[in-house]
Amino acid sequence: LDKKLPDNMLQAALAQNDPAAVVMIWERYASDLFAYLQAVLCSRHDAEDVLQTVFVRIVQKRHRLAKARHLDAYVYRIARNEAFSFISRRKREPNVETVNKSWLIAPEGHKEQNELAEQLQAVLALLPRPQREVIVMKIYRQKTFLEISRILGLSQNTVASRYRYGMEKLRILLGDTLS
């Protein structure tokens, strides 16, 4: 299946109640949503749990998705809402044990790069969430500012300024590594 399946084909499959749409949705959105959820939650394990909930919601709301004007924005909105619900639930239940799997990894077999990945993960976790979202989508998912603005429902200027402020903070936080 083509990852870049046009929106209208996917929406047609959803409208026709075609079970093949399940796989199409997975192929189309799984990687991007997983990256986005890791950026929001700063946890791979939590992102896996929320990703499942997101796909269940997508399937439950497929009739609306079939009519959505911007399919990407709708799907990301579901992911965003589910991630925030998860965060608020976690705040209410602080005693729940969290599994800390690295959500930023280095190519295998490089010890130094593993350390760097851990450092980058810690530094990214210090950024405010809106700035982290934009930086992760831009750098790790190669999205343009236009795409990010459409997905998050923001103006391009807002996205660009979030990116710039985030980079300024990273410059300060990565001071030693840069020099």
């Binding site: 109640n17 079970p19 399940v22 796989v23 997975w26 799984a30 990687s31 997983f34 990256a35 890791q38 950026a39 791979r44 896996e48 990703l51 499942q52 796909f55 269940v56 997508i58 399937v59 439950q60 497929r62 009739h63 959500w103 930023l104 990894i105 280095a106 190519p107 790069q113 760097l116 990945a117 980058l120 993960q121 990214l124 930086i135 992760v136 750098i139 790790y140 998912r141 980079m167 990273l170 410059r171 990565l174 590594t177 840069l178």
Partner: protein, 167 residues
């Protein structure tokens, strides 16, 4: 080094790490779950969704109104008004009017306004009683020029002067 170069340097450092893709186990787990959800929700026809919502909201509205009525009734039951005094006013019998020549003209407005115009009989009785008392007292008193008022005669009419009154 300008800002763009620094940004590119940071981007290069960030790209040395990468975000993990969803694992095959995760894919299998999630696709099996969503297939189940898909099959469950496929039995539901799209038009049923708004109808079901309408029914749910109607039921919720009925429930809220019933609860409000219930508590309102409870509140009214527990509320005791003060004792009310019931007085009965006897309406004057206008059928027995004095035989006057304009009787026919008077009867019509009285009968048409009978319900709205109800004279306060007790107040009238009190007033008459008070007036009678005053008159009695006055009759018993001696007049300023030494004359005594006879019982039952109005003080408005002076005592009939005698034949030598004007002499």
């Amino acid at each position: 080094m300008n800002e763009n170069d620094e940004n590119k340097q940071i981007e290069n450092i960030l790209r040395k790490a990468h975000l993990p893709e969803p694992s095959i186990e995760l894919k299998e787990r999630i696709t099996s779950v969503i297939k189940k959800v898909w099959n469950q929700s496929s039995q539901e026809i799209p038009w049923q969704i708004p109808v079901r919502r309408l029914i749910t909201s109607t039921a919720a509205a009925v429930l809220i109104i019933s609860i409000a009525n219930f508590y309102s009734n409870q509140a009214l039951e527990s509320w005791h008004p003060g004792e009310t005094q019931v007085t009965r006013e006897q309406l004057p019998d206008f059928e027995i009017l004095p035989d006057i020549h304009y009787r026919s003209f008077v009867r019509h407005p009285i009968s048409s306004h009978r319900k709205s115009f109800t004279p306060d009989a007790s107040a009238l009785r009190n007033y008459v009683e008070r007036m009678r008392k005053i008159l009695n007292e006055k009759h018993q008193n001696v007049s300023p020029n030494g004359q005594v008022f006879d019982e039952g005669r109005s003080r408005l009419f002076p005592i009939q002067p005698g034949p030598d009154y004007y002499s």
